[in-house]
């Protein structure tokens, strides 16, 4: 994968991901961290595009940058008296050590192995994904939809207070 577009795109997007990820850690304010997280999600989508994963890139933008970020925004809104500073606990030092260890380990693994080259003819993925989702992995697909239903109903039931039962008629 040595075409100049992919190379430039990869370095730009990778830099953006790592930079905004670091800024999520270092931001002083929870909402600034959220903004940087959104930037990292969007750059990850860019990285997926360099990998010819067009469907997953769009799904990443839709789900992560479009929905999960809005979820976190609502969570911040619904907790008005909580502290909005992005402070660290005392476990940040072991956390950083663990992160360093993981990064070193994966980096060494990546650098030391003799990986294969890229697949030669990677075209659009959306038909193939559709065929697999409804063919080979249909059971997992159905279970995932049931899981989403459970999560939806469960989240609604969790935060429901007893005062939301006067819904009569049309609003």
């Amino acid at each position: 994968m040595d075409s100049p577009g992919i190379v430039i795109g990869f370095y730009m997007m990778a830099g953006l991901v790592l930079g905004s990820g670091t800024l999520v850690f270092l931001a002083r304010n929870l909402l600034h961290a959220l903004a940087f997280l959104v930037i990292s999600f969007l750059s990850m989508a860019g990285l997926f595009l360099t990998l010819s994963a067009d469907f997953i890139a769009m799904a990443q933008i839709l789900i992560y940058a479009g929905s999960i970020s809005v979820l976190m925004v609502f969570a911040v809104m619904l907790t008005p008296l909580a502290s909005r500073d992005n402070g660290n606990t005392i476990y940040v030092i072991p956390g950083l050590l663990a992160a360093g260890g993981i990064a070193t380990f994966v980096g060494f693994l990546a650098l030391d192995t003799n990986w294969y080259g890229p697949a030669t003819d990677f075209s659009t993925t959306i038909d193939l994904i559709g065929n697999l989702l409804l063919g080979k992995y249909v059971l997992a697909f159905e279970i995932a939809s049931v899981l989403l239903l459970f999560a939806l109903v469960g989240a609604i039931m969790l935060v429901q207070t007893s005062s939301t039962d006067h819904e009569e008629g049309e609003g």
């Binding site: 600034h32 769009m58 799904a59 839709l62 809005v70 959306i126 008629g169 049309e170």
Partner: protein
């Protein structure tokens, strides 16, 4: 009483003395009329020439075939490839030049619209309200947009005291990005689309979900309770109406069998039918939900101009607020372009695209959809937020999903059996229209089964009823 009734007010005098367009044209001075008729004759002759070229097929694919500007791009590509440059430079140029030209084209379309769009909208709304719009600044008020822009640019930029620096300056830019990015996959002609993605439909849905964050940042960073309230209302509305948009586009993808926008247009042209005739409920749901996504009346409860000052962009002054208002306009024609591409046949018009350039047809359709938007804005009052949310969750989403199931059944039948176009499209259209109407009525009956829908008694003047005490006694 003399027979000649003299109107007293200037406005009615203007109405009384109004001449028709034909009268005014024939009253022009002779030389102007001569030039106009020469232009008309020249236009007819040129069309006959073009007709000969088109019919004989000599025009297809040449670089001067302006029916499809992509032909010029293809020949430019060939010129770059065949020149004696280093192969890496030539491949980079062959990639860069169409990209930059296309980007310039898109920005000029959106920018050009932002130059005359506000004027068009204000004059149209004024016509609906039987008054004249801006007609003072420049001939016919055409410089009104420029005057507004200058006014906004020279305003003092007031930043609220507790405003969050990072999150205050980002939204005017961040809200503009989806308005420009959404133009990328739209096909203007068979070879003219900036980025004909294989996942074009998903791209459109993903882009429309990016506007939500900009709205939230604007509302939050203003350090103003009312801005935040407006932002929350707008966000709730926008994320609720993303689902009907996705379900409608899912129905489109089911019927056409592809998520590529150019293939959707080609499907509509091959089957000789517009998707709005086949899945009208999905088209109308898409239209209404898009109106909510772009915060336009009747769904602009977040930035209702008469209620919450300006909603989430209250604290923005000068060109920042101008950008928000401009983006609303830019989004309106983007939705017009998407609606035309998905449901109105895109750049095709049952074969007319062999004569008239496809991009002109698409521009006309965008104008028609935009006219519909302005018509709705001038006519309908604003919906309340709970009415909007109830409509989305209780009506649009269930009925859209049910009709999408029906469309899935129809599309699988269509794929399997080889029926002539007329029969299959007619049957699908009839079944869909009947199912949509029937399901709508049944669902509304189900939703309203417990409420009393009889109209409240008409109001009576208290004076006629005999005073306040009598009125109270009557009403009980």
């Amino acid at each position: 009483m003399s027979g000649d009734i003299r109107p007293a007010t200037p406005m009615s005098r203007q109405i009384a003395e109004h001449q028709s367009l034909l009268d005014r044209t024939l009253a022009l001075p002779r030389p102007v009329l001569g030039i106009l008729s020469l232009m008309l004759i020249g236009f007819i002759i040129s069309q006959i020439l073009v007709g000969y070229l088109v019919i004989s097929g000599e025009l297809d694919g040449k670089w001067y075939d302006i029916r499809d500007l992509g032909n010029a791009m293809v020949s430019l590509d060939g010129v770059i490839q065949n020149s004696e440059m280093d192969s890496r430079i030539s491949s980079a140029l062959a990639y860069l030049v169409p990209t930059l030209l296309g980007a310039t084209g898109i920005v000029s379309v959106v920018g050009g619209w932002l130059l005359i769009g506000p004027w068009v909208e204000r004059r149209l709304i004024a016509k609906f309200q039987i008054r004249q719009g801006p007609n003072r600044t420049g001939p016919f008020g055409l410089l009104q947009t420029l005057a507004d822009a200058l006014k906004l640019m020279q305003k003092e930029i007031i930043i609220p005291r507790g405003a969050d620096r990072l999150l205050y300056f980002a939204p005017p830019i961040a809200v503009f990005i989806p308005a420009i990015l959404g133009w990328a996959p739209i096909p203007w002609s068979p070879k003219m689309s900036y980025a004909d993605l294989d996942v074009g439909v998903l791209f459109v849905i993903a882009i429309s979900s990016l506007g939500v964050l900009a709205v939230f940042m604007a509302g939050w960073a203003s350090n103003n309770h009312y801005s935040l309230l407006g932002a929350m209302r707008t966000i709730a509305m926008m994320i609720s109406y993303e689902i009907p948009i996705s379900v409608s586009l899912l129905a489109v993808v089911l019927l056409t069998g592809s998520t590529k926008l150019s293939e959707i247009v080609i499907w509509q042209s091959e089957h000789g039918v517009w998707l709005i005739m086949l899945i009208p409920f999905a088209a109308l749901a898409f239209l209404f939900a898009s109106t909510a996504e772009i915060n336009r009346t009747p769904n602009d409860i977040g930035e209702a101009e008469s209620e919450i000052v300006a909603g989430f962009y209250t604290e923005y002054s000068g060109m920042k607020a101008g950008l928000f208002m401009g983006v609303e306009l830019g989004n309106a024609i983007l939705v017009g372009a998407l609606m035309s591409t998905f449901f109105l046949g895109g750049y095709t018009l049952f074969g007319l695209e062999n004569w008239v350039p496809g991009y002109l047809i698409l521009a006309t359709k965008i104008g028609l959809v935009y006219f519909l938007f302005v018509w709705i804005r001038a006519t309908l009052p604003r919906f309340r937020l709970d009415q909007l949310m109830g409509f989305a969750w209780k009506f649009l989403i269930p009925v859209s999903i049910a009709l999408m199931f029906l469309t899935a059944i129809e599309s699988s039948i269509l794929v399997r059996w080889d029926v002539p176009n007329f029969l299959s499209m007619g049957v699908i259209a009839l079944v869909n229209i009947g199912a949509a109407a029937g399901l709508t009525f049944a669902w509304v009956k189900l939703l309203f089964r417990d409420t009393d829908l009889s109209a409240p008694p008409p109001p009576i003047l208290t004076r006629e009823m005999g005073g306040l005490q009598a009125a109270k006694a009557l009403r009980g």
